[in-house]
Symmetry: D4
Subunit: 165 residues, 8 copies
Amino acid sequence: MGSDSDLPVMQESAKVLEEFDIDFELTIVSAHRTPERMFDYAKKAAERGLKVIIAGAGGSAHLPGMIAALTTLPVVGVPIQSKFLFGIDSLYSIVQMPSGVPVATVTVNGAKNAGILAAEIIGTSDKRVSDKILTFKEKIKKEVENKAHKLEDFGFRQYLKLTGK
Amino acid sequence: MGSDSDLPVMQESAKVLEEFDIDFELTIVSAHRTPERMFDYAKKAAERGLKVIIAGAGGSAHLPGMIAALTTLPVVGVPIQSKFLFGIDSLYSIVQMPSGVPVATVTVNGAKNAGILAAEIIGTSDKRVSDKILTFKEKIKKEVENKAHKLEDFGFRQYLKLTGK
Amino acid sequence: MGSDSDLPVMQESAKVLEEFDIDFELTIVSAHRTPERMFDYAKKAAERGLKVIIAGAGGSAHLPGMIAALTTLPVVGVPIQSKFLFGIDSLYSIVQMPSGVPVATVTVNGAKNAGILAAEIIGTSDKRVSDKILTFKEKIKKEVENKAHKLEDFGFRQYLKLTGK
Amino acid sequence: MGSDSDLPVMQESAKVLEEFDIDFELTIVSAHRTPERMFDYAKKAAERGLKVIIAGAGGSAHLPGMIAALTTLPVVGVPIQSKFLFGIDSLYSIVQMPSGVPVATVTVNGAKNAGILAAEIIGTSDKRVSDKILTFKEKIKKEVENKAHKLEDFGFRQYLKLTGK
Amino acid sequence: MGSDSDLPVMQESAKVLEEFDIDFELTIVSAHRTPERMFDYAKKAAERGLKVIIAGAGGSAHLPGMIAALTTLPVVGVPIQSKFLFGIDSLYSIVQMPSGVPVATVTVNGAKNAGILAAEIIGTSDKRVSDKILTFKEKIKKEVENKAHKLEDFGFRQYLKLTGK
Amino acid sequence: MGSDSDLPVMQESAKVLEEFDIDFELTIVSAHRTPERMFDYAKKAAERGLKVIIAGAGGSAHLPGMIAALTTLPVVGVPIQSKFLFGIDSLYSIVQMPSGVPVATVTVNGAKNAGILAAEIIGTSDKRVSDKILTFKEKIKKEVENKAHKLEDFGFRQYLKLTGK
Amino acid sequence: MGSDSDLPVMQESAKVLEEFDIDFELTIVSAHRTPERMFDYAKKAAERGLKVIIAGAGGSAHLPGMIAALTTLPVVGVPIQSKFLFGIDSLYSIVQMPSGVPVATVTVNGAKNAGILAAEIIGTSDKRVSDKILTFKEKIKKEVENKAHKLEDFGFRQYLKLTGK
Amino acid sequence: MGSDSDLPVMQESAKVLEEFDIDFELTIVSAHRTPERMFDYAKKAAERGLKVIIAGAGGSAHLPGMIAALTTLPVVGVPIQSKFLFGIDSLYSIVQMPSGVPVATVTVNGAKNAGILAAEIIGTSDKRVSDKILTFKEKIKKEVENKAHKLEDFGFRQYLKLTGK
């Protein structure tokens, strides 16, 4: 990520990778404040054995696109919700990459989804990971179904009280 | 893709996959007009041995997100430029997926980038493909450099005439 | 609705249907987390005797459109105000359906209006319901007129004090 | 509709209602240029036996909302694509109705979808119509499947030539 | 105005008219909830001797445009900041009137400006009022100049402390 | 207006003022290219006997607001449709004036509406003009009614042929 | 700046100029409330020896553009975040200047960046200043690197606790 | 500029610099396709004696911001009008730079304005250039005044004919 102010959002990627038992590193690389560090990081990523890079940035969010320009690894971009227009500037800066240099853009503030997407990418060649994703998907399905049954059993007024929503 | 009207755009994915020598299939699956077909397609994709799914759609672009809901494979979403607001509706429908179900969204009409991203994903476990991406990146670098030298040599007025821009 | 986090908004549909004495059921069906459940629910809705389906969803709001793809019943879509851009993403995802598969979209967060619209639809073949709507419209007219008279009688400074606005 | 300049779009509603064998009338009623006519039309619609009103308008598109204010019938609103911002102004004017007065808003320029939605509404109490919708849905499913098979058989290059896209 | 929830904003028009010693009336007229009252109000406004009508509304803000359709008086429209997208929906609904039926639209939540504009309109035939506007403009100029001198004298740090900003 | 490139749009104001028999002058005053001329023009407008100023401008459309800052006359602002974003930039620049300095903003490219609004303003103290507006409103009502009857008589297919739409 | 309400933002320009040891003056000049003062200020700026003018304004933000129209000095414009749409109106009003009259627009609320840009401009002919900018850039690079090392050393959970984010 | 497809726009910067007799170089440097070249170019620009860098780019327009990250020279950014949303994506990518790294952003497609701004910057230490800007401003003022007189003399109908607008 480009700044430690993005960490409260970006930690969700780390947590989901932990949940999928996937090794990762988490650091700060700023396209605008440490351009040499970014160059270095991106150029060496593949040979260091990284498989996927998740890059989160807000505003004129150049980090994901610049990383993508400097590596052949897939780059997942997380538009961080800026103070200006709720992250539309971040989203456009990340997703509208020119032909030849894609960034796999996820939901605004979607660091968790970025982690899952990274896992899916790794899962294309690692059955252990794709199995974990399947289990994860079953789990969130069950959660919804349980809530649905609870809601049907208790009625919406009681449900709202019970869950404190 | 959801409709054959998207084919003029989506063929760019096919062409770039051909260029990278990656096997692919190309068909029409509509979330709204053939929901059963979509279910079937997405549910069986992994066991049929597919590695990545590229899904292009416009307007209320539900195809990429619904495919992502039904598979553990990474799904690349291409927002097709709609008549309404230049594809902003398509972009939001594809990128703003809820937590748990990411879509790897690329540029509006970015079918070529979708193909390259799919190649990068496959390249994470297939050195032959990641080498081809490296070569591809070198090629587009060379093209820019050649143009730069030509422009510097001829001056902008002559360059515009020569290239007919 | 797609998630119980939408319940505080969506309960307004339930309340207005209660007010119009119309039978309804309220449950959670997620297009992205429980796609099979959604398929099942939508496919059987008409034969189970439902007349209208109200579907609320936010962000990449696919639920109303997917339900509409799977039934011949009219589907009323409620764009839930997302954290991103105040629900514009939800609105576009729901309203911009392709030709052949309409969703009757209401105001962002307009769950109450969705309930009224459902009642109006049922009222096309049930005079008891359309009479209740007429009464409801008279009631809200009276409320406005009463406020108008109070405002004219007291003046705006006193009115603001009395109503604590 | 509010102006005969909307007729090239709005005729699609008429055509789809003809296809579903549903009686309809088609006329011009302007909220801004013929307000009395609009009042009269909307107030008498229900007693004249109309079941649904489809109203199309562009820009400051007040017609659907004003009709909805004056009747208990369900009103389907079609935002006409304006010259300004591709119909976003029309869309917001129609969909963002206040609590108590819903408009069933469809796709920008979605006159065909408005017709189908009207048919679905009538189909809630007329099995002949809901059967026709089922047939219609089967037909558009078949069309997509046929195109899919043709595309798979011929390959995308040949398909593009054959269909002239 | 269309609802008493707009009164905290719209009272600013009343206050500025008081300041300019211009007679006015302030009431609630809802286009959607009391359409007959609105018709009546607008149709009789000119013969009752009103010179200008200020109409504030939010969301699908039809009140100013419908009033304008029903009178030959100039209508000043105030887009009220809605919960959805900060009043962009209100703004578009009010300003994008069709040819033939203008609304004099002011700033979002600009009730004070609406009052001043109404005064300027009345001032075109009432020198007493246009003189008051001149005085008002001098007053706000003086206020800015005083602040400027204070800021220059004290420096920005001291100024911020003194004014508690 | 700020540039003669706006004349094809702004002539509509002139034409409608001619139709209402209202004296006017039409010239070019650029806020950015001829700021002194603008100052002079605006400062002397009231004493020269002008009643209303119509100002059209596009992009960073400062002309209407600057004129309004320099006169006590009502200023009608016409946002000219720019190449960038269809005039949204023009609209925001004109309508979002600060407290104390209103601009009566009309439809994007709404020069005709600006002329009518100017006439309505003059009509507040000139019965001859307000009568002409009444006549004008009757005329456009008749036109719509005639089209409505023609459409009802001929049916939409025949009507489209007859009118060549 | 146009109003002392912008001072909490605009003081950042002052602070950064202090940090770079560049003389400056800070005052209030309103395009709309003190147009004569603005004229005077802008016309005399160059001969008074100013090198760059930083102008901050919000909403219909005319100040930077009008200053630019009245001087040959470079003008840096700061769009102040308005209550309406997070400063998009301010941004468009400032950046979309017509051909011939540029404004050097920075980030919304980017008063600090405006100060740095002004320093860079002065640095083009003052090595002392450009050296300070180099030092400043080194400093912010170091800060990021320090944070990166700290994050890598402590891990993200500990880092969040330590920094209280 | 990032691509020779931007040359038809960006040549306007070159032309205006020629008009002001300012030496310049014009080349292609792509942030995404030739990142090393960009690094090299930006890092060496100051020591090579450049005073200002004009960078034009569209879509995910990273070039101006990355150049700004790598130099202490002022960087003027030109958002090139993309096919997607008329250059809003380009504008946000360029203008919304983080604190510490400003880009002097001009009008969308404003290459001419970028040239003038660069001249103004150079003019802060080169009287010959600032004098030329003064002359340029006088010239465009005269042009507007001539058009104004012509329009007043001929009337708008004749003027439109004469100028063929």
